[in-house]
Symmetry: C2
Subunit: 545 residues, 2 copies
């Protein structure tokens, strides 16, 4: 093919091309809104000018101790200013941020530090005990964060102190975008509900687009006040750290999710946005009515992490919180799907609206495609709201792959789509509804029972705080549903009451055969650990049989 | 350097990478909001499902007649649905859209068609007379658009008719993103206020990011109702065609900018957004008061194309229109700078707010950098609001370069920055204020006089509709300012009245020495043709001397 004039003397150069990186959002915020408040943490306040300078100081300090392209810096931090700064400073140095789940044990943490070849660890003093064990025998430079807002136990365990590192750093550190926007920006280990943790590698381009995707999907205007209820260790806070910078917003930090503290911060700082798993919303709903008194403005909440019970969506809306239901995975930079609302839905009865809003929805505009395929044939399931297939994605907010795991990477991307492992139906309007993870479908007498559907029914019982339904091996039916139910404070209910409630609200064969009361075990990210429950019923069944 | 695990088995593939293209926004809008209204043109209405199908039909029709990668398809269209569709359909076929300025003469148009190697022309019947001349002797396939909303003169001149082409096209045409997001998407000729038109080549990546940049800068929420007062032939409608798709908005088409028609459409369709040159806003302001009566909602307006007189900004704000002052060039995909408002400005007196808002402002967050440099030394001017330098940009919303013009491209990108040719000062808060194009600075007795500053003063005179100030050669002072003034309908003023008004409002040496009343000549995009005026005073001066 002869070369075209459109391809001649029209190459990339320093003036017309820059690698996409979400770090650039902070440079912009500091340039345009230097005096605006970037963050509030207890009595500490920062402006964007200050936060940008702190990040550059951090980057220069990290560069001095060897953080550069493809070098992993792990962080074990609560949702503090330092955690936010790490999301920019490590990338400015060229490194890869690996956020550690603060609820894990030393063995799991040690696995991640080793697998990710972490050269540096930034750790909050409150996690010293577990981190001291986790780094045992590792050659790693440890930087301690001693948060003035934290006065609990824990010794400094490192050779460097965060504020001292910053004090010696260069506030004008000349960071540059990565040489290639495909360069890794983050390494995040999956929470391992189904097997060994895998190291999800994401890149600068994707992080940039994911931040924008969240802003667009959420209609997030300039200057949001963002409450950090979503752990930043979880998918980089769903990429919201970078999104807040892109909107010159204000971060309201939070070391620990506590419903009363959240409501107090929402009222005091007029928080406009926050996110959380359904349990966070359930906890908020159970707070005393007077805690909502000071909140007169609109609060936008992302609800995600698991399909929210319709009852929770309904109740939050009645409280005046505007709920956006989202779905995604660590592999898709957090949210990549949203139940985008149609204005015409506003005219529908509440229950119908809740049903529509209870679906996971449609892809973010920055993701190229999302669909429900039969994983055997790789053909789309009919959009009938009934046929179950696997949710698959493709596009720019899909990970690079799993670190040092070409087999898993190849399997995840088989056929040109990212396989989520989540089962769903496609509705006629193009909205998906998750039915379950593959393992969470209960097959009883040849009929598929969605454990989510059963959970949704149980959740509507006024005494129920949380619940989980799993399959129990059954000699006659193959499997039957068994429900684990956590009641509200002071509430009391019987097994037959819960079962009767289910039978009133769904096909009888779907109702649980057993109900077990007590706390429901959760992963560190708030997901219910169904594998633990499955183990429990399997042992119980073994004894029964 | 040994290869890193972060670079190993983690390559781009079909599941995790897609070339950025603004065409994808329409696919998304049609998938998520198929039933929403995408466009209104007189009695015609379209949904996003229909518009997407029409664009795919267009793409398939164009593909059949040879439009493919790097093939130019020129369009000579008013702001109609077909013009919008061309912005997607041509790109879906892989081609390059070349929007022709509908106010140009046949010679200028012929130059562009030849220089751009246009293989296809889509032309509105109303432009047949000039286009028949322009294509004389060219081997080009002509597609006529016969807009039912147009009933004026003009014959079809082509071999194909637009609706017939669509009728035969494939509504499911399997378009793909470009092989490389750097591929050309548009070719736009500069309006040539200072010399020969140059062919600005832009690419898919930049168009995607520019669309997002506009959304972010404008805080454009979902479902805007966008009135097409900005000609789509001008920088692809400032990339707003693509932005409206990304927000699933509604296009309100407009064949001709007419203030009464605009106000009527704004009221009837509750238009939320539109843009225009200052003259468009001046025309609106001069409409009878009753035309504003039906407008009770907030209307957001971009004002650009030339620095708006502060008086216009003030008056529009009093009318309840929310003005965003933007600046950019064809080379930066239209707007790349915006006078982003700081909430604290709201507390200032109107005049001070207007002064702050009258500046061009700060870069879009999607552009890597904007600065004011001394073009000789390439060093930043001091941010003192006084020292004049040249506005320069770098980043992803800067063009690929000029077609078949490596010399101009190289000059434009010298030193790693795109040189705008516009002169400005940098204020201490990082906001730029355009002082003039290089040629528009008047040097009088060794003092620099900004012609814009003089124009701003004249514009505040209540009888003035429009004005332009240029240098007149002067044997004593070198140059002196001369003002061309267009009065409002029915208004009457004398030279001495205007000069006295200026002397009251600025340093006396800056006041014009002469005032010439009459219509001010404009380019087809509404920019005042200062070179015409300069010629006029030069000839006059020659006679005087």
């Amino acid at each position: 093919m002869p070369s075209s004039p459109f391809d001649t003397h029209l190459d990339r150069n320093a003036a017309n091309y820059a690698a996409l990186t979400p770090v650039s959002f902070m440079a912009w915020a500091a340039e345009v809104y230097p005096e605006r408040v970037s963050g509030i943490h207890g009595s500490r306040r920062f402006t964007w000018r200050e936060t940008y300078a702190r990040c550059r100081r951090l980057a220069s300090g990290l560069a001095k101790i060897g953080v550069t392209r493809n070098v992993t810096a792990s962080v074990m931090l609560a949702n503090t200013p330092e955690m936010f700064e790490a999301h920019f400073g490590i990338a400015m140095a060229g490194g890869v941020i690996n956020t550690l789940n603060t609820r894990l044990d030393a063995d799991a943490l040690a696995f991640m530090l080793r697998h990710g070849d972490a050269k540096v660890l930034i750790t909050d003093r409150s996690f010293s005990a577990v981190m001291a064990k986790a780094i045992d025998g590792l050659a790693i430079t440890v930087i301690d964060v001693d948060d003035p807002e934290y006065d609990g136990p824990g010794e400094c365990i490192g050779t460097l102190e965060y504020e001292a590192l910053l004090a010696e750093g260069d506030p004008e550190f000349p960071w540059r975008p990565p040489a290639d926007e495909w360069d890794a920006i983050a390494l995040s280990y999956t929470s391992g509900t189904t097997g060994d943790p895998k190291g999800v590698v994401t890149h600068h381009r994707g992080a940039y687009l994911a931040a924008i995707g969240n802003i667009l999907a959420w209609d997030m205007p300039s200057f949001p006040v963002y409450l950090w209820s979503v752990p930043m260790f979880h998918c980089n806070g769903w990429c919201h750290a970078w999104a807040v910078a892109a909107r010159a917003g204000t971060n309201v930090y939070l070391r620990k999710v506590d419903p009363l503290a959240m409501l107090e911060l929402i009222a005091r700082h007029r928080v406009t946005h926050f996110g959380g798993a359904p349990i966070v919303h359930s906890m908020l709903l159970n707070a005393p009515e007077e805690c909502f008194a000071g909140i007169s403005h609109t609060v936008n909440c992302y609800i995600a992490g698991a399909a929210p019970p319709v009852a929770v969506i309904e109740a939050m809306e009645r409280r005046g919180f505007r709920i956006s239901h989202i779905y995604g995975l660590t592999e898709t930079y957090g949210p990549a799907t949203m139940c985008s609302k149609h204005p015409k839905w506003d005219e529908l009865p509440t229950a119908e609206r809740a049903r529509l809003n209870g679906r996971q929805g449609v892809r973010f505009s920055v993701e190229e495609g999302m669909t429900v395929l039969n994983p055997e044939t790789m053909l789309p399931v009919p959009a009938d709201g009934e046929t179950i297939g696997e949710v698959m994605y493709r596009g720019n907010i899909t990970m690079k792959g799993y670190l040092k795991n070409p087999t898993a990477t190849e399997a995840a991307f088989a056929g040109g789509w990212f396989h989520t492992g989540d089962l769903a139906v496609m509705h006629p309007d193009g909205y998906i509804k998750i039915k379950d993870r593959s393992k969470d479908i209960i097959i009883s007498g040849g009929e598929n029972i969605s454990s989510l559907e059963v959970e949704d029914a149980i959740h509507r019982h006024p005494k129920v705080m949380a619940c989980a339904v799993v399959a129990q091996p059954d000699p006659k039916w193959g499997e039957t549903p068994v429900a684990f139910v956590e009641l509200k404070n002071g509430a009391d209910a019987t097994e037959s009451e819960i079962i009767a409630h289910c039978r009133e609200n769904m096909a009888h064969f779907k109702a649980p055969k057993r109900v077990i009361f007590g706390p429901v075990p959760r992963t560190s990210t708030g997901k219910i650990q169904k594998f633990v429950l499955r183990e429990r019923v399997r042992s119980a069944a073994a004894i029964d049989v």
